[in-house]
Every structure is written in C-alpha cells, then in structure tokens.
Amino acid sequence: PGASADDGGGTLRMPIAGIGIDSMNPFLAYFAGSLDVFAGIYPALNTVEQDGTAKPYLADSWTTSEDKLTWTFKIHKGLKWSDGKPITAEDAAWTFNLIMTNSTAATANGSLVANFASVTAPDDTTLVVRTKQPQATMLAVSVPASGIPIVPKHIWESHVTDLKNYKNDSFPVVGYGPWTLTDYKPEQYAKYDANKDFVLGAPKYDHMIQQAFKNTDAAVAALRSGQLDYVSGLNPVQYKALKGQAGIKAYETVGNRWSGIEVNGGARTRDGKQIGTGHPALGDVKVREALARAIDRATIVKKVRDNLAKVGASYLPPSLPQYAWEPSGSDKFDYDPAKANSVLDEAGYKKGSDGIRVDPKSKRKLEFRLGIHSDDDADAKVSTYLAGWFKEIGVKADIQAMSSSKLNADLAKGDWDILMDSWSTGPDPTYLLGIQTCSALPDSKGEGGSTDSFFCDKNYDDLFLRQQSAFDEKERAGLLQQMQAILYKANENIMIYNANGLAAYRTDRVDGILTGKADSTGAYPPQPSLAQYLNAAPANASSSSGGNSGTVIGASAAAVVVLAAGGVFLMRRRSSSDDRE
C-alpha cells in the first residue's frame, strides 16, 4: 500500500504521536496524541515560534493594560469554521468561560485559566481577558498543542450537559486549523483533509493520515517499507539503525524533558508536619550532595542514550534556551566518588563492616529505596547504574519497580526515599516550576498537593511569585535562573540527562521537514506538528509504492490453493493405494 499520490497534493502519513489518543474531546484529553490532533484541527489565540516568541494565529495582535491585569486580543476577521460559520471572539470567550466554570471542562486545562477573573467578547473581533494577578504567561495559555484549543460555540453549546461522555465523533469535525478531521478510528487512525484557506499558510499536502502504532518498532518498520513518511519518538537504537539508511533522514531535535532522580529530603505537609517513611539521612544536604557527586551522568548519556542527550544539570530542559542556566565552578556537583566519600566521611557517616555507611543520628544504615517506573525501561537501565555507583560511596540502593499509580501514591504519602522521574514541559515552564513550591505540598490532612519531591523553599517561592508577573522577558529569565540555582543546590531533584528528540522521515516522499540541530536552533519539540504540517511538502521523487495488497493477497491465496490441492491429491493417492488398516 502506498500513498495515494494520484489525487494532486498527496497524503502525508505519520504515526499518531506518543502513546496515542486518549480522547477526541479537547476538554478531557491530555495524551500527546490528542493534543497533536487538536493542534491541527482547533485554533488557538496565538502560536509560539521556535525561539519562544509569540506570533499571531486567531489573534492578530494583543495589548496589555497599565496594571497588567487586562489583556485585549484582536481577533482576525473573516475566518470561518469548517462548516462555514464565522469564527468570532465569542467562540474564544465561550471556550474559556466554560473551562473556568465547568469542572468537567476544566479536566485538561483548568490550571491554565486559574488566574482568570473574567473573559468577555465585547464584539466579534475583540476578546478581553482580566486576570486576578498579573500573568506573564498569558501568551502560553492558548497555543497549539500545549494550550487551550478554541472550539466552535455553536457546536459545543449543546454538549455542555453531557461533556464527560461526549466523544466528539461526528465527522468531519467542525473546527479550524491546517486540517479538518474527516475520520477517526480509535487505536487505528485519524484522517484529515487540508484546509487550503488556512490563515498561516495552506498545508502542501491535500490529506494527512495519522496511524496508530503501539510500539515504535512497528512504526519504524512501516517507515522503512514506505507505509509512513515520518516517525518521531525514536529510541537511540532505532535512530542509529535508520541513520545510515538510504532514502531516510534521521535527525535529532533538542530535548524538552529532564530525566533524573528525586530525593526525599523530608516529606511534610504545608503546615510543616512530617509525614511518610522517608529515610532521615536524606534530610541531610550533605548526603544528597554525595549522591549527586556519585552519579556519572556522562556515562549514562553515553551508554543509555548513545550520546543522544545532554548531560543534565539545570531543572529546565534545553528546549527553553531563553531560561537556560548552568552551574559553574565550585558550585558544580561533578562526578567525583572520592569527593562524595569524603563529604560523607566528614559528616560522620561511617562505613559498617558490610561497607554500608550508617547514619550517626538515627543509627540507620544508608540503605535507600530506589523507586522506578516499571513501564519505563530507561528507568530500569539507569537505576542499575545508579545502584552500582551508590555502592561505591557506601550507600545501598534497593531498586523497587512500581507501577506509576503505586509510585505516585507512595510519593504523595512521603513513603519513599529516592525515585526516578522524568518531566517534560511545553513552551511555558510555570507548571513545572510550580510543583516545587511550598503550596504544592499536601494540606494538613496529608491530602491534595501536587508536589514532586516535597521541596519547599521560601526564597524559591518568592522568586516564583515574582516571575509570574514579570512581563519583561529578560527579567523573567533572570528570576527563573535563580530558581534553578536554588533547586540545583538543594539536590532534591538531581537531573541526570536531557534526552534529544529523535525522528526520521523518508526523503523520497517528504520535503521541508524542519530538522534543525540538537540545540536551540532545532525544531521546537512540543509543537512539531503545526510546524511540520505547514512545512512538509511532497518530495519530487516519484513516490515508490510499497507492494500492492491485491497482488500479495492474490498470490498468497493462489499459493494456498495450490498447496491444498497438492495435499488433497497426495492424500487421495495415498489412501487409494495404501488403504490397509
């Protein structure tokens, strides 16, 4: 089966992103696959360029009031939903208001509007957003993929009452974007037609098909055999394998994710009550420092990621170069087992007869649970390295593989010592930084909270508040860098590496894919779709068609028939000649 290149612009074929589509309902879905779909079929107020700057989309321009509390967006005139109804500011206002007032609608994106006081549409082209506090991140609230998709009010109004069960499956789905969703089969595919009038420039393909592949290997095989034009999310081995292959271009993009460990430095509630069963020694910053110094990040990058990653340090990933921060000089916790050992020796952690150190205060051995995600094979690999290195400094790590739900439950209760974790972020890092604030700790009953490592630091919280209303990019970047420095020093979140995004496409089929490099000039990972959709063009090379299903089936059927006939004939002959019993 090959791309049906016969009807003009051809078809772009790619896998559904990530682990798939959880729902087609934009108020509920949060899988990368779904967000990717919405980016193609629902509009946002603005887009974000690869360098992090905001660019128009539905809104042509925007202004902020003096007090920084009121934002006024000018909506592009004359745009039409795919069913021909005009797109107005009212659609956007309605969408925001629904999320602000309806708890079901808030499922996916509620936090993005948490600071909103009101959203109104005084006329068809004006959208006014009033916030409770100044919000520097306003231009990240409604962006493709990671922000709030704006839906047509006239379609969704009637589904408000049953929002939870509404599957949004009447095709073609009314929306606006480079594509119109014409068909979708769960776990199988999503089909699109191009929107030739798209405001940011029409896609160069007429159709797009996203196909579900549950494992990347299958997708890679499909890419090789020509069933797919483009695959992302490769692992290093797949990447290497595709790298040398003719007709295929494999490329790296800059990483938007950190992978590392979290250390339980003393789990507590918002009002300071100790909870959980964390090891007391981990409350000692010296111990955490020793752990940080025991990890040979470069080796992990080399062995686990095949050098397709950046050695981790700062809390924010390299995909946000504008906020980048790096430790320097003596502040740096480099791999240095000797130093780590001496730090522990000085702090009074003596080695026992078995080579494991003992905490002088609690008299407990430095024997830590190292929780890993059982479904993440990188966790499993990295943890075996960690356990080995920790042993060198007299610390025993007891690797415990857990399901995510168990891990998360343990985390929230403080019943853990060290956990492997990994977070990615969109263009705005507020959420990622927010989970390290004191207000993310659980309440006095030990419930709620979204803390990731029970980190809580007064200075950090101050900086966090300040950056929220820092409208000057430079100023905000400075604040974020200070925050990262605090996190780095505390060593409760020890970054190990930032994996590069790995992708490949067929050069004989596609052109114009943004590849970039594995640095700040690379494609902006969380938003590949929109950029790729608009840039990708059919290659000039004659599109080779992978085998023809008809012939294959015909041939196999013929073979089966011949075999069967032969068998029957043989049997017949045998039975007539040799019929004794």
Partner: protein, 321 residues
C-alpha cells in the same frame, strides 16, 4: 474434559521378560524365574528407548548444569553495567560469541545467567502450583460432600478464568517483581493440577484395593496416605514437568509485558529490553534470537521429558496440555 487413564492400568499386562530360557525349570514355572521387577530400573530402560524423552532430559541436564555452574565462570563484573566495557549492541565477534547488548554485556553470558532466574521462577512456581493443586485435588477427590463439591467448583471456575489476563491483573495489583510473577503463575495454574489429581484420586478411590484396605480396617487418612497418594504421585510428577514448561513460558510472557523485575536478568526481560531497545528495527538478531531460542529449547526439554515419562507410566494417553 481430560480423560486420564488410571495409572494402574498403565502397567503393561505382561511383564517384560528375558528371552525364553533353556533351563527346564524356567519352562516349568515361568512366573517363578521372572526377575523381581526393579521398578526404577525398568523405568529407566523404557525411558531410554524413547528418543525424544532422552533428548528432552539431555537439554534439561545441560541447561540445569549451566545455570548451576554459571557463578563459576561468570563473575559479577561481566554482568555489572558499570563494570563492563564491551561495545554497545555489537554483532557477534571474538570474545562475544553472541554479540553484546546495549550496555556492552555479552549476550551469551546474559542468556546463561538468565537461565538461572527463568528456571528458578519456573520451578518455584511449579512447586507452588503442584503443592496447592495436589492438596486441593486430593481433598476434593477424597472427601465427597460439600467440601469436595465446593473445591471442585472452585477448581473448575479457576480453570475457566483466562489465565494471562488474571496473571496480569494479579501482578499489576500486587506489584511487579519476581515473587509476584511466581505467585501469579501459581494462582493461575494450580487448578489444572487440582483437576487432574482429583480425577486421578477418584479413579484410584474407585479401585477395589481401596475397598480391600477399608475391609482390612484402614481409615480415611491411612487410605489416603498408603494407597491414594502413592498411586497419584507419578501423575503429579508428570504433570509438574509439564507445568514447569508452561510456567517458564508464562514467566517469559509476563516479564515481557513488563511485570517482572525490570533490573533482573531473565530471558523474558532480555526480550523485553530487546524490543523496547529497538533491536527489531536495528536488525540486532543476536539480541532477539538467543533468549527466545533458549526459552523454546528449555520448554521443549520439559515437555519432551514429561511426555516420555507419561508415555511410560500411561502408554494409552499422551497428555494434552
């Protein structure tokens, strides 16, 4: 419904005899000169005649020895990720007859080492299965009444439960790891042993020699221990050989699905990391074939051995699994 011939009928009706002797006394009383049938010796002789069984046993001996002796020729450093220095995911070369994995460890050594956990989980799960299954089967078969009925229904119900989904659910709930896999396998497979043992117990209990024992004054426990158990044991052994085979397969499957110990070395885990590490795409056949073939061979070894033993004990029916 599996139909198992009672073992007592399995004994050949005519004992294996040496060729006719010229000694007139032998001709006079053929029965008297029959050598005392050495049960085990005879068993061995019959076993040796079944080639597939010998092959199966050979496989098991080889793998068993490899697994047992592995620590003698594999040091911790060969398998410790922070110590090894081989090339990453390299095809077979000198020094690495089966190539290396991503961490640069020798696949050959990993496969040998993997035999330890695959075999031990298989055996542990089998022991659990057989103990549980035999106990339930014996009790259900021996005691009629509601206990027996209830146990029988429980057994039948468990047999009907789809085992992989149950095992998956179980280990998802009790947490990942070797022990939970072992438990999951035992919980999902004891029932067929129980049914087998129950059927066999019923068959044995229907034999006249049980009635004779009772007529001689034996009570329930004596009947169970002296008569039922010895006659059921061979069957339990056979079925346990076959249980090991399926336990090893289940172990591989569950580990492959990510329910095992992700940092442990077992065949299933190797295949899991081969798939997730992209060995299929990169054509790293040396990472994909050895663990799978090892599973195949060992499972086949247990199956062949089990079938051979069963053929001897019960020539009429070759058991179906």
């Amino acid at each position: 419904m599996t139909h198992h011939e009672p073992l007592t009928q399995a004994d050949p009706p005519v004992a294996v005899l040496p060729s006719a002797s010229t000694d007139p006394a032998a001709a006079v009383a053929p029965v008297a000169v029959k050598p005392r049938r050495n049960g085990f010796g005879n068993f061995v002789r019959s076993f040796v005649r079944i080639r597939s069984g010998v092959a199966g046993l050979g496989i098991l001996v080889v793998f068993g020895l490899l697994a047992l002796c592995a620590p003698l020729f594999i040091s911790g450093n060969d398998l410790d990720v922070i110590k090894v220095d081989g090339p990453s995911l390299h095809s077979p070369t000198d020094g690495y007859p089966l190539g290396t994995d991503q961490e640069g460890r020798s696949i050959l050594l990993l496969v040998i080492w993997g035999a330890r956990s695959s075999l031990s989980i298989g055996l542990m799960a089998t022991v659990l299965t057989v103990v549980l299954g035999s106990a339930v089967g014996l009790v259900a078969g021996h005691y009629g009444g509601w206990i027996g009925k209830a146990l029988m229904h429980l057994t039948d119900w468990f047999i009907a439960l789809p085992s992989l989904p149950l095992a998956i659910s179980l280990s998802a709930v009790i947490g990942q790891g070797t022990s939970s896999i072992t438990i999951a396998i035992a919980v999902t497979s004891w029932s067929s042993t129980a049914r087998l043992v129950r059927a066999q117990t019923l068959a044995v209990e229907a034999k006249p020699f049980i009635e004779r024992a009772r007529a001689l004054g034996a009570g329930g426990p004596q009947v169970m221990l002296r008569h039922v158990l010895p006659n059921v044991t061979p069957l339990i052994l056979v079925s346990s050989t076959l249980t090991v085979a399926s336990a090893i397969l289940s172990e591989a499957t569950l580990t492959f699905l990510g329910l095992g110990d992700p940092t442990g070395i077992s065949w299933g885990a190797m295949l899991n990391s081969a798939l997730s590490g992209g060995a299929v795409t990169s054509g790293a056949w040396w990472y994909l074939y050895p663990p799978g073939i090892a599973i195949l061979i060992v499972v086949l070894g247990f199956t062949l051995t089990g079938r051979a033993v069963e053929t001897i004990l019960n020539p009429r029916s070759v058991k179906t699994r």
